[in-house]
C-alpha cells in the first residue's frame, strides 16, 4: 500500500481570506486595496445590471422577448467575478450571466436580440473574451478547460473563468472537465453560482454532498463562500486567478446565493417554493447589503446613489430603444450565414434556393 496521493504543495491564497463559514474576514476586506472609486463602481455595476435585468423582464412581459431568465439576487457574483479578472481572461458562461456580459462591455441591447429570437449569437466572443451563452447545462465547462489548457500550451498568462449553476454540478460533463483541469493543471477558475435551485429542484435533491469539497477529489482546492458579498467574490476569484496565473492550476469556488426570481419567465416558482424562503434571502440582498456597507464606510452618499440610479434609468431606456429598433440580418444570412467557414456547394445551393423562394413569395 504505497499509494498516497501526491498532493502538490501549493499556497492557497484564497482560503486564508475567509472564515470557515465562507465570510470574507474583516482583515482581508480591509486589505483588498481597492480605491473608493473602485468600490463605488462595484456598486454602480450591480445597480446597472439589476436595472437591465428588470427592464428585460418588463420587455418579456410586454411580449417583446421570447424568454427572460432573471439573475436577481446574483449580482454580487456577476460583478465581483468580472472585476477580479483581466480583460484578456476569457469567461465561459451558461445562460444566466447577462450581468457578467454587461460588465465585460457587451451591449445589453445586442444581447437581448438573442432572447428576442433575432440572432443566434449577438456578440463576437473574441472582442469581449466572453464565450457565447451555453444552454445545455454544464456543456460549457469542458470548453473553459480546453481553452485554459490551450493558454498553458501557448505559455500565455491569461486564465479562464468557467461558471455554472448548482444543477450543472450533477452533469457528467462537469465532472469530466474538473478532472481534466486537475490532470492538465489548467489555469481555470470554476465558479459555481449555487442559487439553491435548478428550476424546481432544490439543492438537497440535487446532491447529498458538498460541491466545494469535491475539488480535492480532482486534486485542487475548493471553497464555499458567501456569494452575496461582492467583495468576497472579488477576493476569491482574484486569489484563484493569481494562483492559476502563476501556474498552480485550477480552483473551485462555490458561491452561495439565491435565485430571487423565477427560473425564467416560463416558470412558476409558486408551485415548488415558499415565500418564507424567499424572504429569508431578501435580507441578504447583495445590492442592499453592499450599499449599506459603503454608506457605513462613508464611501457613498445619497447623491451618489441617486446619480447611479439615474444612470440605470437612462441605460435601461437606451437598451429598450436600441433593442426595439434592432433589425436583424436578412433570413438567408441568419439561417445559413455562419454555419460553415467553407460552405459546401450543395449548402450554397440550398441557400440560394431559399433566398429565391423568399423573393418569389
Amino acid at each position: 500500500m504505497a499509494d498516497v496521493v501526491e498532493v502538490v504543495a501549493t499556497d492557497d491564497p484564497v482560503r486564508p481570506l475567509f472564515s470557515p463559514a465562507g465570510e470574507l474576514t474583516a482583515a482581508a476586506r480591509s486589505r483588498l486595496g481597492l480605491s473608493q472609486d473602485a468600490l463605488r463602481d462595484l456598486y454602480r455595476q450591480m445597480v446597472l445590471i439589476r436595472r437591465a435585468d428588470q427592464e428585460a423582464l418588463n420587455l418579456q412581459r410586454q411580449g417583446e422577448l421570447g424568454l427572460w431568465g432573471q439573475f436577481l439576487g446574483q449580482e454580487a457574483i456577476h460583478v465581483g467575478a468580472v472585476a477580479a479578472l483581466q480583460p484578456d481572461d476569457w469567461i465561459f458562461p451558461s445562460y444566466r450571466e447577462f450581468g457578467m456580459a454587461m460588465c465585460r462591455g457587451i451591449d445589453p441591447a445586442d444581447m437581448l436580440t438573442w432572447f428576442r429570437g433575432l440572432s443566434a449569437g449577438p456578440w463576437d466572443p473574441r472582442e469581449f473574451h466572453f464565450a457565447p451563452l451555453a444552454v445545455p447545462v454544464a456543456s460549457q465547462v469542458p470548453h473553459a478547460v480546453g481553452f485554459a489548457m490551450g493558454s498553458r500550451f501557448k505559455k500565455s498568462k491569461d486564465v479562464v473563468l468557467g461558471t455554472f449553476g448548482d444543477g450543472a454540478t450533477s452533469k457528467g460533463d462537469w465532472h469530466e472537465a474538473m478532472n481534466f483541469a486537475g490532470v492538465f493543471k489548467a489555469p481555470v477558475i470554476f465558479l459555481c453560482q449555487n442559487n439553491h435551485w435548478a428550476i424546481s429542484v432544490p439543492l438537497a435533491k440535487q446532491t447529498a454532498g458538498s460541491i466545494a469539497e469535491r475539488a480535492q477529489g480532482y486534486g485542487f482546492p475548493g471553497i464555499r463562500i458567501d456569494g452575496n458579498d461582492v467583495l468576497g467574490v472579488l477576493a476569491a476569484v482574484r486569489g484563484a486567478a493569481e494562483r492559476a496565473r502563476r501556474g498552480d492550476g485550477p480552483y473551485l469556488i462555490e458561491a452561495m446565493t439565491y435565485r430571487m426570481g423565477a427560473h425564467t419567465t416560463s416558470d412558476d416558482p409558486s408551485r415548488y417554493r415558499t415565500e418564507t424562503e424567499l424572504q429569508a434571502w431578501s435580507v441578504k440582498d447583495p445590492v442592499g447589503r453592499y450599499r449599506a456597507w459603503l454608506e457605513g464606510q462613508g464611501i457613498i452618499d445619497g447623491a451618489a446613489i441617486k446619480t447611479i440610479g439615474d444612470e440605470g434609468e437612462s441605460m435601461a431606456h437606451a437598451m429598450r430603444t436600441r433593442l426595439l429598433a434592432f433589425t436583424p440580418a436578412p433570413p438567408g444570412e441568419v439561417i445559413f450565414g455562419r454555419v460553415y467557414a467553407r460552405p459546401p456547394d450543395s449548402f450554397l445551393e440550398e441557400r440560394e434556393e431559399f433566398e429565391a423562394s423568399l423573393e418569389s413569395s
Partner: protein, 322 residues
C-alpha cells in the same frame, strides 16, 4: 369524455398507467412538484407519491441509466427528457444499453422515454430539435410520435405496456390542441393511420407535421387537388403496407418532417417507397423538411420549417410531373 389537450391526454395516460400498474415509475427533471416544464406530469407526484413520481438530479445520461437498472429490477420506467435538445447526453445509454440490453441478457427493457420535440414554440436554441432519425437508425428501439390527443393517450398506453423500449416523441407545438379522447381505443405500435383520404398525392407526416399536412390538404381542395394524408404514428417499425396502399391510389408521395431533410428519416421512407413502390410511382418522391442548418433563432423558425405552401408546391410539382 370532453375534449382535452394533448398535454392533458398524456397526463391522463400516465395517470392511468401509474394507477393500473405499480411498477410504472415516472421521473426526470422537474416532473415532481412542478409537474414538468410543460405540466405533463401535473399532479402525479401528489397522487402517487415521491417513490413513483420523482425529480432527479440534472443528468440525462443517468436518468436513462437508472431507468435501465430499474427495468432490470422489475419496474416499467417512464423517464422524461425535458427537451429534444437535451437527449444527446443520454445517447450512449440509449444506443449502447436501452437498445441492446435485451440482446445480451434476455432481460426486457420496458422503458418509455418521453421526449417533447419539434419547433414552432418560439424558443431559444436546443429547445426545438427533431432528433428522431438518430433513434430510428438504432436497432432495438421502437420510435413513435403521435399527432393528436387521442393517439397520444393510446400510444403512450401501448408504449408503457410494451416490453421493449420505446422512444416517445411528443410534438410540443401540439400540446394545446384539443380533442375528445376515448381511453378505451387502442392504438398499436407499428400501425399508421389514414388521416385524410385523397386521390392525388400521398402526404406522409408524423407528429407536428400531420396538422400542417391536413391544412395543406384543405387548402389544396380549394384548388381541386386531392391530398391523402398519412399519419405514421410509429416511425420504427415503419408501416409500409399503409403507405404502399395509398400509393396505389395516388402514385405520388410527399414526406413532411421538421428535421433537416439531409439524412433525415424521410430518406428512409422515400428510399423504401422508391424501392417497394417503384412501379407505382409516377413522380419522384419529394421530401419537405427543414434546411440543412442548425435550428435558427425563433423569429426565423417559420421560414425554416415545412409549411402549407411548401407542401402545396411539392404537390403541384408531383402532379405536373411526367
Amino acid at each position: 369524455m370532453e375534449a382535452v389537450t394533448m398535454a392533458k391526454a398524456i397526463n391522463l395516460s400516465l395517470r392511468d398507467a401509474l394507477a393500473r400498474d405499480e411498477d410504472v415509475l415516472v421521473f426526470g427533471e422537474d416532473v415532481g412538484a412542478l409537474g414538468g416544464v410543460f405540466r405533463i406530469t401535473d399532479g402525479l407526484q401528489e397522487a402517487f407519491g415521491e417513490e413513483r413520481v420523482f425529480d432527479t438530479p440534472l443528468a440525462e445520461s443517468t436518468i436513462i441509466g437508472v431507468a435501465v437498472g430499474l427495468a432490470l429490477r422489475g419496474f416499467k420506467p417512464v423517464p422524461e427528457i425535458q427537451f429534444d435538445g437535451f437527449v444527446y447526453s443520454g445517447f450512449d445509454q440509449i444506443v449502447s444499453h436501452v437498445a441492446k440490453y435485451r440482446n445480451r441478457s434476455g432481460m426486457s427493457m420496458p422503458i418509455t422515454i418521453r421526449i417533447p420535440f419539434g419547433g414552432h414554440i418560439g424558443a431559444v436554441e436546443h429547445h426545438s430539435e427533431s432528433p428522431e432519425a438518430y433513434f430510428t437508425h438504432t436497432a432495438g428501439l421502437k420510435v413513435v410520435a403521435p399527432a393528436t390527443p387521442g393517439d397520444a393517450y393510446a400510444l403512450l398506453q401501448s408504449a408503457i405496456a410494451d416490453p421493449d423500449p420505446v422512444i416517445f416523441f411528443e410534438p410540443k407545438a401540439r400540446y394545446y390542441v384539443k380533442e375528445e379522447v376515448d381511453p378505451k381505443r387502442e392504438v398499436l405500435i407499428g400501425r399508421a393511420r389514414l388521416a385524410r383520404e385523397g386521390t392525388g398525392v400521398s402526404v406522409i407526416a408524423y407528429g407536428p407535421t400531420v396538422s400542417v399536412a391536413l391544412e395543406a390538404a384543405k387548402a389544396a381542395e380549394k384548388e381541386n387537388i386531392s391530398l391523402e394524408v398519412i399519419d405514421l404514428r410509429t416511425l420504427s417499425p415503419l408501416d409500409m403496407a399503409t403507405i404502399i396502399e395509398s400509393l396505389r391510389k395516388t402514385h405520388r408521395a410527399i414526406i413532411v418532417h421538421e428535421a433537416p431533410v439531409f439524412g433525415g428519416f424521410g430518406g428512409e421512407i422515400a428510399a423504401r417507397i422508391a424501392d417497394d413502390g417503384f412501379d407505382l410511382l409516377e413522380a419522384p418522391v419529394t421530401r419537405v423538411g427543414a434546411m440543412n442548418t442548425p435550428y435558427p433563432p425563433a423569429r426565423f423558425e417559420k421560414l425554416y420549417l415545412p409549411d402549407v405552401d411548401r407542401i402545396l408546391e411539392a404537390a403541384d410539382v408531383a402532379l405536373a410531373y411526367g
